[in-house]
């Protein structure tokens, strides 16, 4: 197999949802506390030499420069810390930076994670802040929202490949089924296709239940140099492929709105580095900010051919007991989408799956995992491949 780039020795995730009265800094401490408790051989103050935090916006709490705040609240000052921003891929790119830091040899043990506090503002304000990840002069200025951007992808995908609203709804149903088994999920209740189809319209054809919720939460991983992992855990998970690609900020600036180029490019590179093919993936966490995004992710990641994403969900292949379970955590839809926290939360789920700690959502014998984290309208895409260590 491919050479490990960096190794996950522990992970922590808060309950996602409306975490009333808690600031982002407190949420991050909650996630870190879990990661530390799960790793008794780790002495945080002594061992951690870097803190990388993903957070999409300072506007929710009017708090910029959050990395030193969190470093301080964790008792880690003066360890080097910074905040990365790549819209919904903020902690995905933070993980990339942690891989670079460890690969460079300048860091041995990095605490990498993400956080977002969003529910303290009314929906319309949060919608507008989220919209900042789209083009200001040509998208935001016309009142375009993120649901609208993905809705336009859906309209085109439906016209081009015959994808149906029912197939989109099945993605939400599957993810809620999985979320019901995840004690950290924002929503832990099953829903039906009818529930989705009759939910209020947000941006046609996307309805409320096609859209991931506005949530608060934090997640983090302890990443080490591969040769040091044994000091901290008997169940390491290695990152063996890590890739990233970019695309235009505006959906309108792309020649094809039915595909996500960043997914295809990053996946190709990550698979190459890992020495694995799409069909060898045992479990995947993909970026279902909206149901259509999961369908398009199946296609971009090579789980099926272009235009066949709807067929894959129809056949149950990506259900928990299917051949290639996708979003066992409940995905962004049911687990929740505190934007900055999503990237490392996806990796945390893969870590739990590959170490046999996923409880009722466990995919038996999972050995190779994948995460797919997008930023904005897929202007950023991060794909990583993980291997259970021995």
């Amino acid at each position: 197999m491919a050479k490990p780039l960096a190794t996950i020795v522990s992970a922590g995730v808060t309950r996602f949802g409306a975490r009333e009265g808690l600031y982002a800094r407190e949420l991050f401490v909650e996630a870190a506390r879990e990661a530390f408790e799960e790793c008794p051989n780790l002495s945080p103050r002594k061992d951690i030499d870097g803190l990388f935090v993903g957070q999409m916006s300072e506007s929710y709490e009017h708090q910029a420069h959050v990395a030193p705040v969190i470093a301080d609240w964790l008792g880690l000052l003066p360890v080097p810390a910074f905040r990365s921003e790549a819209a919904c891929a903020s902690s995905g790119v933070a993980m990339r930076c942690a891989v670079f830091a460890i690969q460079s040899g300048m860091h041995d043990v990095v605490l990498v994670g993400g956080v977002e506090k969003m529910t303290n503002l009314p929906t319309a304000s949060a919608t507008e802040i989220l919209g900042m990840a789209s083009d200001y002069p040509f998208e935001q200025w016309h009142g375009i929202t993120f649901p609208a951007i993905f809705a336009m992808m859906a309209t085109a995908h439906m016209a081009e490949y015959g994808t149906t609203e029912e197939q989109l709804a099945k993605v939400a149903v599957k993810n809620h089924e999985n979320g019901a088994l995840n004690p950290k999920a924002h929503f832990q209740k099953s829903i039906t296709v009818d529930d989705v189809l009759s939910s209020r319209p947000v941006a046609w054809p996307l309805k409320l239940y096609d859209c991931s919720p506005i949530s608060d939460g934090a997640s983090c991983l302890v990443l080490t140099a591969p040769k040091l992992a044994k000091k901290f855990t008997d169940t390491p998970v290695h990152i063996i492929g890590s890739a990233q690609a970019q695309d235009t900020i505006g959906l309108f600036e792309r020649s094809d709105v039915t595909t996500m180029n960043v997914t295809k490019l990053a996946a190709k590179k990550a698979y190459e580095m890992a020495g694995v093919r799409a069909k060898e993936i045992d479990v995947a966490e993909v970026h279902d900010c909206f149901t259509i995004a999961e369908i398009m992710a199946y296609e971009g990641l090579g789980f099926c051919k272009l235009g066949q994403g709807g067929k894959l969900i129809d056949e149950g292949i990506t259900s928990l007991r299917g051949k290639l379970p996708v979003n066992t955590s409940g995905g962004l839809k049911a687990k929740g989408h505190p934007v900055g926290a999503t990237g490392t939360a996806q990796a945390s789920e893969i870590y739990l799956q590959l170490t046999g700690q996923a409880g009722k959502r466990q995919v038996r014998g999972a050995k190779i995992g994948l995460t797919h984290n997008l930023g904005g309208s897929a202007s950023t895409g991060v794909v990583q491949v993980y291997l259970r260590g021995d």
Binding site: P122, T123, A124, S125, T127, E128, G131, P137, F138, E139, Q140, W141, H142, G143, I144, T145, P147, A148, A151, M152, M153, A154, T155, A156, A159, R200, P201, V202, A203, W204, P205, L206, G250, L251, F252, E253, S255, V257
Partner: protein
């Protein structure tokens, strides 16, 4: 208006500092057609804070030829009549938004 590249001959619109296709700085203004075809669309029911009085409203991406595409609000077209490929015309609002940028928004309507 868009920018025609002297090197690769392609059009960059909206305008940028360098050619969107080959990164050349050899750019000169060219007039774009005012009409195009609808590439995709949606209807927004949950608006951002600034557009709360306007919802629901239709948004689409229109292609003007040579790969030039622009997004915008579609006005006065019934939802049942929206079709990918339909011809739409660009027009300008007569009022100016209170905040940046303070020039009239364009929008799309049937020709």
């Amino acid at each position: 208006m868009g920018l025609r590249c002297g090197r690769c001959k392609k059009v960059t619109a909206p305008p940028r500092s360098v050619c969107a296709h080959c990164a050349s700085s050899d750019l000169s203004w060219t007039e774009l057609p005012s009409g195009g075809r609808l590439v995709t669309y949606t209807v927004i029911h949950l608006p951002p804070a600034h557009f709360q009085g306007v919802a629901p409203y239709a948004i689409g991406i229109v292609e003007f030829g040579e790969g030039v595409r622009l997004p915008g609000m579609i006005k006065n077209v019934k939802f049942e009549n929206m079709r990918i490929g339909m011809k739409l015309q660009t027009d300008f609002e007569t009022t100016v938004p209170n905040d940046w940028p303070q020039w009239p928004r364009y929008f799309f309507r049937e020709p």
